[in-house]
C-alpha cells in the first residue's frame, strides 16, 4: 500500500525534518507511543523484532556521543540493522560533498537516515537525494526536533498537560537548536514560554519562534515557572562569549541553591546535557528533587523508538490479521 496515500495512518509522515511539520496531534501520538515503548526498555530483554531487516544509517557529520548513542539504542531495541557514517574518518572530511555522501550511502539501500550536521538545513538536502526516511538529529542552529520531543515527553509525564504550563528557558537561546524546535512545539501545545537571557544571547525575533515573553531577569521570572529549562553554556567558544565571565553568568543566570526558594514547590528543572556544573546549575540543583535531567535521557530512547517505529512502518488505526 502506498504509505503516503494511507488515510488510516495515525502518523502520516515520511521524514521529520523540523518540528514544524508535526501538528499538536502528531506530537501527542509520538508521546503516547513513547509511553508504550517505555515498557520495552524496562524488560530484561530490551528488544523487540518490530523493525527486523530495516537498515538505519546514523549520519553524524558533527561529533555527538549522547544523541547518537540514544538513537543507536533505539534502533537496536527495535531490531534495526545500523550503520554509522560521518565522524573524523568520513569521506566528507576527505572533501566529498554532502550530496555525494548521501548518494553513496543511499546506493547501499538504507531505509532511514538519522542526520546530524553543524549546518542548518542539512536534513532537507539529504531528503532530496534519497527515498529513505530522514530524521533531523540536530542541524546547525536550526532545529533538534527529537530533543524537543523527549523534553516534551518528560514534561508531559511530570505535569500531565501542556495547557497553560509556564516554561522558562534560560541561557544561550540564539545558538540553541533545541530552542528552535522546543519553543514552537511548546507554543503549539498551549504552553506559555518565557525566554530568559541577556540580549547578547537572544535571536533577532524571539517571537517568531513562539515565545510569549522575553526577559533578562531570572529572579523575576522564576516564581511563575512550572518548568525551568536550563541551556548549556558552550565552554568551547568562550573567546566570543556573550557574557563577561563564567562567574558573572553564574551570578545572573545560574540556577543555584540560593534561588531554590524562588521556585514553585513542584517546578521541574530540565537540561539537554551535558551539564556544566557550577555554571548554569550548581550540583545541588542538578541532582536535587526538582531535577528531571536523567528522566530526559531515558525519555530520549523511548521517544526515538516511537518515532523510528512510526516513520518506518507507520501505525494504522485499524488492526490487521
Amino acid at each position: 500500500m502506498n504509505r503516503a496515500a494511507n488515510k488510516n495512518k495515525v502518523f502520516d509522515h515520511k521524514d521529520l525534518l523540523s518540528i514544524d511539520e508535526l501538528s499538536a496531534e502528531d506530537i501527542m501520538t509520538v508521546l503516547n507511543y513513547a509511553k508504550m515503548f517505555e515498557e520495552v526498555n524496562e524488560r530484561t530483554i530490551k528488544k523487540v523484532p518490530a523493525l527486523r531487516g530495516k537498515t538505519v544509517c546514523n549520519l553524524f557529520l558533527e561529533p555527538s556521543t549522547r544523541t547518537r548513542g540514544s538513537f543507536e539504542l533505539a534502533e537496536k531495541r527495535l531490531s534495526c540493522d545500523t550503520v554509522n557514517a560521518g565522524g573524523s574518518a568520513s569521506s566528507t572530511v576527505k572533501g566529498e560533498s554532502l550530496v555525494d555522501t548521501i548518494k553513496t550511502l543511499d546506493s547501499m539501500k538504507v531505509d532511514m537516515f538519522i542526520v546530524r550536521h553543524k549546518y542548518a538545513g542539512t536534513p532537507y538536502i539529504v531528503s532530496q537525494h534519497t527515498n529513505a526516511a530522514v530524521i533531523d538529529a540536530g542541524d546547525g542552529k536550526h532545529q533538534h526536533p527529537t530533543q524537543a520531543l523527549l523534553d516534551l515527553y518528560t514534561i508531559w509525564k511530570k505535569k500531565g498537560s501542556f495547557d497553560g504550563l509556564k516554561v522558562g528557558i534560560v541561557g544561550d537561546i540564539v545558538h540553541s537548536r533545541v530552542c528552535g524546535s522546543l519553543v514552537p512545539a511548546l507554543a503549539k501545545l498551549g504552553a506559555e514560554v518565557t525566554l530568559i537571557a541577556p540580549a547578547t544571547m537572544l535571536p533577532a525575533c524571539p517571537e517568531v519562534l513562539g515565545a510569549a515573553h522575553v526577559t533578562a531577569n531570572l529572579d523575576e521570572a522564576l516564581p511563575d515557572l512550572d518548568v525551568v529549562y536550563m541551556l548549556r553554556i558552550q565552554m568551547e567558544r568562550l573567546e566570543e562569549a556573550p557574557f563577561p565571565s563564567l562567574r558573572e553568568y553564574h551570578l545572573l543566570y545560574g540556577l543555584t541553591k540560593e534561588r531554590e526558594p524562588l521556585m514553585k514547590q513542584d517546578a521541574i528543572i530540565c537540561h539537554p546535557g551535558p551539564i556544566n556544573r557550577g555554571v548554569e546549575l550548581d550540583s545541588y540543583m542538578a541532582d536535587g528533587s526538582h531535577s528531571v535531567i536523567t528522566d530526559q535521557v531515558f525519555s530520549g530512547v523511548c521517544v526515538r523508538m516511537a518515532l523510528i517505529y512510526l516513520l518506518l512502518g507507520g501505525a494504522n488505526d485499524e488492526i490487521s490479521a
Partner: protein
C-alpha cells in the same frame, strides 16, 4: 443455521459464549490440577477481556486470584513489512512469568501467526514453565504447526469468510459471527466498539 451469501451468521450467542467460558475454565483447572502457579495472558484485543473473564470464573470455582496480563503482539508480527502496522496498545504484564504455567488466551485461532508472535513476545518476558493456548473459536486454516489446548468451539469456515467475536464489555453486545469478506475488507478482529461495517 442459515447462511446466505452476504448475510452474517451468528455462530455463538451471548449465553453460549458464557457457558463455553465456564467449561473452558473448568478444563484449564482440571488440566493443571488447580490454579496454583497459573497465570493468564490475553492477546490484544479481546483476548485480554476473555482472559479476565476466565480469571473471574476461576475465582468463582477455586477462590483464588490468578494473575492476568495483556499482550500486544504488534511489535512481533511477521507481516509488518507487507501490512500496515497495527496501532500499538501496549503490553501489560505486571507479574513475573518465570516458571509459571501461562495460558495464552485469544478469541479466534486462524493461521496461527498471531500465536507464533505471542510466543516470541512471551519468551522476551522470561522463561515460563509451560505455555498453553486457550481459544474461544478455532476456525481452521492453520499456516503454522500450532494447535490450541483449550478450544471453546470449532467453527469450520471458508478462507473468504471472517469470524469475529464481539463482547458486551467493549462492543455493547456479545456474539461470534461469520461473514463473507467484502472486497477491501480486513480479515481479523473487529475494531473495538462494535462492527459497523
Amino acid at each position: 443455521m442459515q447462511r446466505s451469501e452476504s448475510d452474517q451468521a451468528c455462530v455463538m450467542d451471548e449465553n453460549e459464549i458464557d457457558r463455553t467460558l465456564v467449561r473452558m475454565a473448568h478444563q484449564i483447572l482440571e488440566q493443571n490440577k488447580g490454579g496454583e502457579n497459573l497465570a493468564l495472558v490475553g492477546i490484544l484485543t479481546r483476548g485480554d477481556i476473555l482472559a479476565r473473564k476466565l480469571a473471574e470464573i476461576i475465582y468463582q470455582i477455586e477462590g483464588i486470584h490468578v494473575p492476568v496480563g495483556s499482550l500486544d503482539i504488534s511489535l512481533y508480527r511477521d507481516d509488518t513489512c507487507i501490512m500496515n502496522f497495527p496501532q500499538l496498545r501496549g503490553t501489560d504484564i505486571l507479574f513475573n512469568i518465570d516458571n509459571k504455567t501461562i495460558v495464552l488466551v485469544d478469541d479466534v485461532l486462524f493461521t496461527g501467526r498471531t500465536i507464533r508472535a505471542a510466543l516470541d513476545a512471551l519468551m522476551d518476558f522470561g522463561r515460563p514453565a509451560r505455555i498453553q493456548l486457550a481459544i474461544l473459536v478455532d476456525r481452521g486454516h492453520r499456516e503454522l504447526p500450532i494447535r490450541a489446548d483449550f478450544v471453546g468451539k470449532n467453527v469450520p469456515s471458508a478462507a473468504n469468510e471472517n469470524v469475529r467475536l464481539h463482547l458486551k464489555d467493549v462492543d455493547g453486545y456479545s456474539s461470534v459471527t461469520i461473514t463473507r469478506i467484502n472486497p477491501g475488507e480486513r480479515i481479523g478482529s473487529a475494531p473495538i466498539g462494535g462492527d459497523h461495517e
